[in-house]
Symmetry: C2
Subunit: 225 residues, 2 copies
DNA sequence: TCTTATCGAGACTTCCAGTCTCGTCAAACG
DNA sequence: CGTTTGACGAGACTGGAAGTCTCGATAAGA
């Protein structure tokens, strides 16, 4: 947020570097990609074991064996760095398997989603990131992409189920997807009820039943007769 | 977190006050309840207009015309004060009306819940509090009580619906309640889809349909045949 | 009147994000 | 090979916010 006017020395150095655009492209020591990886790895590790409260820039730099300034050479803020760490983790998520059986794949998707949250470190990391997303635009963007991916994966699975006739043709898949992830995040964030295998089974049954809601003649869903 | 050993002077004053338990009960100037109210009111007001990021203890004290120390005379921390402010606000929520018609009351409950979130200030305050609850035990407790109240109100409404035969006797009301509030909070926190009148109508229809999920012979819900 | 506790005000401490500087080191260029 | 350039780790520094401490003033009981 702070506007800073660079001093004369830095200014002249910068313009010299910019002017070199057509000449030599890059001189001097190169940025160390390994340091970047170490920073992200340390961040992910601490996020699971310490909780965001204790994951300070100083602690990350120390754990990664890196100077604080190096972190700010790669990312403009702590939030941006957290966002990239989360994005890297999200890539590790396996897409739902297409076994040919919608029933088996849906059950697998839901139970796997719940099982992943049984690890307290994972659960805490997700809660912390959702919390941070409420006041950091970078984290919000990353979390938005992360959750959109998940919704899209579940939606694709449900589209198959609809094609197979396991869900009615009129089923509102976006609604079902939000019902699923809403339930999951609500229990994760509020912690008033478990996200265990029993809840996964019950939720699956309720989602299938919810899929039978039918839209009225105006295309809108009719709540009540 | 810091453990502090009180100095001799403060210690002797404190023991003198404690010793007075049987003797004179209270001397000296009384704590000003109006200051307390002003603090809570200023907090609630700023929470809706500024966002938690800008709601600093200093800003609250200034807005309430109060010294910072006065805030810490009433609450041990900012989180505890936020929790009480939220609790006061929660009390203002009207319980669902019993019009005799389950259909009308459920529709009213759901549309009113969504309508309340159309005010950006309210939505931001709730998002901020959910965020703060993830790393502050006082806020977490208050939010837990707040959400439990809401779940309990909706559950009572649904119990009436079950008694009236509008929901099957086997309906798992806790699941339906979590599906509703999960959907609401998920869209509130992620912001990927609106919480408008159309969503309210669709959600109502899907909840009623989800209520038809039936448990298997073992009492557990069977996801799939 | 005298004692006691709260009041607003503000200096102060601690913690953390982010910036700046410094001496060092690696890569490119001449 | 030597010079230039820019990234490196380290650490001092700034700024903002939570929370503490102190002070003179004030209100209420004794």
């Amino acid at each position: 947020m702070t506007i800073r006017v660079p001093n004369g020395e830095a200014e002249s150095r910068k313009t010299a570097a910019q002017r070199a655009g057509s000449g030599r492209r890059h001189t001097g020591r190169r940025r160390n990609e390994e340091a970047r990886d170490a920073i992200l790895a340390a961040t992910l590790d601490m996020l699971r074991t310490e909780g965001l409260q204790n994951v300070t820039i100083d602690a990350i730099a120390h754990a990664a064996g890196v100077g604080r300034q190096t972190i700010y050479r790669w990312w403009p803020s702590k939030g941006a760095m957290l966002a990239e760490a989360m994005g890297r983790r999200a890539h590790a998520a396996v897409p739902p398997r297409d076994s040919g059986s919608f029933d088996a794949d849906l059950t697998e998707f839901i139970t796997a989603s719940f099982r992943g949250l049984e690890d307290p470190g994972t659960a805490r990391a997700l809660r912390d990131l959702a919390s941070a997303a409420q006041h950091d635009e970078h984290v919000a963007a990353a979390l938005g992409e992360f959750t959109a991916q998940r919704r899209s994966a579940l939606r694709a699975l449900m589209e198959r189920g609809r094609a197979e006739g396991r869900l009615p043709a009129s089923a509102n898949l976006d609604m079902l997807v939000d019902l699923f992830y809403g339930f999951l995040w609500y229990r994760l964030l509020m912690g008033h009820a478990p996200l265990d295998a029993s809840a996964a089974r019950d939720l699956t049954a309720h989602l299938i039943a919810a899929g039978t809601a039918v839209p009225g003649p105006d295309g809108q869903f009719q709540a009540l007769d």
